[in-house]
């Protein structure tokens, strides 16, 4: 009996490993090796034509002490994230709430709010470049007709980041759908019980819907932060980091170091600082999540 069991185990292990072998190859070639290679490159001077040359911590110290563009990129990226992440969550949450009210034609509204989020980034970038055209764009035409002062949008260093935020908010459909899915799972009985107790719509939203959706909020928060740190296409195509480096985002600066100046070692150091920061931030949020994220079926201490 014992031998038979172990023979099945052996057979299962072999077929299991065979089935996952494509991923094992990918794990070794496209994840494990690159992660360590990029850590190694970050300690080297590497222009891709000559083999990497060990220089210790020089890349890191140059980044942190002598590179104003690095800090510029960090500042711009954090500025954008601080605006977009909360606005994106609040606005898509509100829209999801409105859609959840059983209004007529809900599927049409859902389509309208969702469709922009699957637009190719390059397509929406070019469309918004035209909408935000300072002279003949739609945005200023509308503002102008209400006699509101018209900004220069992408061409004004003070407005370029808010313009990007507005453009990205157009694509909030993904976040909204996750909230909508969460709203479907809130038990009806909770609302009925609250109605018997005389709670109005605002109270019900604040005391039932919001707490029940904290897992979705948490998910969207983490995903949103990571996404906002990786903005690339729009700033590469439309603003090219300008005007006056006001849209020089982290990934654009990394891309330039790697593929325009071929400072692969320096860019790898940027990648690792990015990795470390994202990891710490995610762990930090995870740590606070016990205090504000409510999972159904979990007993509070």
């Amino acid at each position: 009996m014992k031998r038979r069991v172990s023979r099945t185990t052996v057979r299962n292990t072999i077929s299991g490993l065979l089935f996952i072998s494509p991923w094992i190859v990918g794990l070794l070639v496209f994840t494990c090796y690159p992660v360590f290679a990029s850590l190694y490159y970050s300690f080297t001077d590497y222009n891709i034509l000559q083999p990497p040359h060990w220089i210790g911590l020089a890349n890191y110290s140059r980044l942190l002490t002598q590179d104003p563009l690095f800090y510029r990129a960090v500042f711009n990226t954090l500025y954008y994230a601080a605006l977009w992440v909360p606005l994106n969550i609040v606005l898509s949450f509100l829209i999801a709430l409105l859609l959840n009210l059983n209004v007529r034609g809900v599927s049409i509204y859902r389509t309208i709010f969702f469709l922009p989020s699957i637009m190719p980034q390059i397509a929406s970038a070019l469309l918004w470049a035209w909408i935000f055209n300072p002279q003949f764009g739609l945005a200023n035409a509308i503002l102008g007709s209400f006699d509101i002062p018209t900004p220069g949008w992408f061409s004004d260093p003070n407005w370029s980041k808010p313009s990007l935020v507005i453009m990205s908010l157009w694509g909030l459909g993904t976040t909204m759908v996750i909230f909508l899915a969460g709203l479907q799972d809130v038990p009806r009985e909770l609302y009925e019980a609250a109605e018997i107790d005389g709670a109005g719509p605002v109270r019900k939203t604040w005391n039932i819907t919001v707490p029940m959706l904290t897992p979705a909020i948490f998910f969207n928060l983490v995903i949103g932060i990571i996404q906002s740190f990786q903005v690339f296409t729009t700033v590469y195509v439309v603003t090219q980091g300008g005007p006056v480096d006001s849209t020089l985002f982290y990934l654009l600066q990394l891309y330039r170091n790697a593929f325009s100046y071929f400072n692969m070692g320096y860019a790898s150091a940027m990648a690792w600082l990015f990795f470390a920061f994202v990891l710490l931030l995610t762990l930090g949020i995870l740590k606070t999540s016990g205090r504000w994220v409510y999972y159904e079926g979990e007993i509070r201490k």
Partner: protein, 300 residues
């Protein structure tokens, strides 16, 4: 919700619940039904306006582009913007390249991810859970970290400047889609597979003849998301196809076009519209699968 009075048709007016009767009830009714509806209509208009502007611009004659205040209806409709935009750059060549890369990825990902997901979901073997945790952990690694060494690998084997670097890696699967399929495979009851096993079916036969047919909805979700990922990708083609215009995808081609003719908005918007059409069509024919997929993965 059962007492809803429909604000459009008036249905249900006959049985107005007590809390909506009288003057203060009317206010409450307005707050509860009219205000959300008006908000939704307003927001929907804002969201739809860019699309209208896109199509409207794409059909305008040059003289109408730079007019203040802007006019919404092209006069006359200049349909020739489309053929002109599509011949300005080798549009159909770029579209073919985009399609080739996207469809190759769809096929390769469906095969690789479903195989791997089967190994994680349907076969019991020691070490399976540990490796699955490794798979989940790899999703936490942001792609800028692996970007440079992967580029160096592909450069060394001479794949920079060809589609290879954008296509073949799909055969090794992607953690996100493996995860999605694995979750789905776990829900398929065990007895079907057990019966087949008693009849002497191999694991591969069970995968091929039982699991794959039952997993069609999940596979469709993966196919759509993979297609979109690749159709919309910009950074990948930018890094790996740079320099060789023959190989450009639509995304790269549009970028080039913008760089060269940044003031020809009508043609540019026509080109953008044509790039968006496949995405919109895909969305409208598979809306349910689409939205479920997004809700599952949280990703575009």
């Amino acid at each position: 919700m059962s007492n809803t009075v429909n604000p459009l048709t008036g249905a249900g007016v006959g049985r107005i619940p007590p809390r909506y009767r009288g003057a203060s009830g009317a206010v409450r009714w307005t707050m509860r039904h009219l205000v959300p509806h008006l908000l939704l209509i307003g927001l929907a208009l804002i969201f739809i306006l860019p699309f209208v502007w896109l199509v409207s611009t794409s059909l305008k004659p040059d003289s109408q582009i730079f007019v203040l205040p802007p006019e919404w209806v092209p006069h006359p409709f200049k349909w020739s913007n489309y053929p002109e935009a599509l011949t300005y750059i080798p549009y159909f060549l770029y579209m073919r390249n985009s399609l080739y890369i996207a469809l190759f990825n769809v096929c390769a990902m469906l095969i690789s991810c479903s195989l791997v997901a089967y190994g994680f979901a349907r076969i019991h073997w020691p070490g399976r859970n540990l490796l699955f945790i490794v798979l989940l952990a790899t999703m936490m690694i942001p792609y800028p970290v692996t970007l440079i060494p992967v580029f160096v690998i592909f450069r060394q084997i001479g794949w920079v400047g060809s589609f290879n670097a954008l296509t073949w890696p799909a055969l090794t699967g992607s953690a996100f889609y493996i995860f999605l399929l694995r979750q789905f495979f776990m829900t398929i009851p065990q007895d079907l597979a057990d019966a087949a096993r008693v009849d002497g079916a191999s694991e591969f036969q069970i995968y091929r003849r039982i699991i794959l047919p039952l997993a069609k909805p999940a596979l469709a979700t993966v196919a759509i998301l993979v297609f979109l990922d690749n159709w919309n990708d910009f950074l990948g083609p930018l890094i790996y196809l740079g320099g060789n215009q023959q190989d450009y995808t639509l995304a790269l081609g549009l970028n080039d076009y913008f760089g060269a003719h940044s003031a020809e908005w009508a043609l540019l918007m026509a080109a953008v519209t044509v790039m968006v059409i496949p995405v919109a069509v895909l969305f409208f024919v598979s809306q349910r699968t689409f939205i479920q997929g997004i809700a599952l993965t949280g990703r575009r």
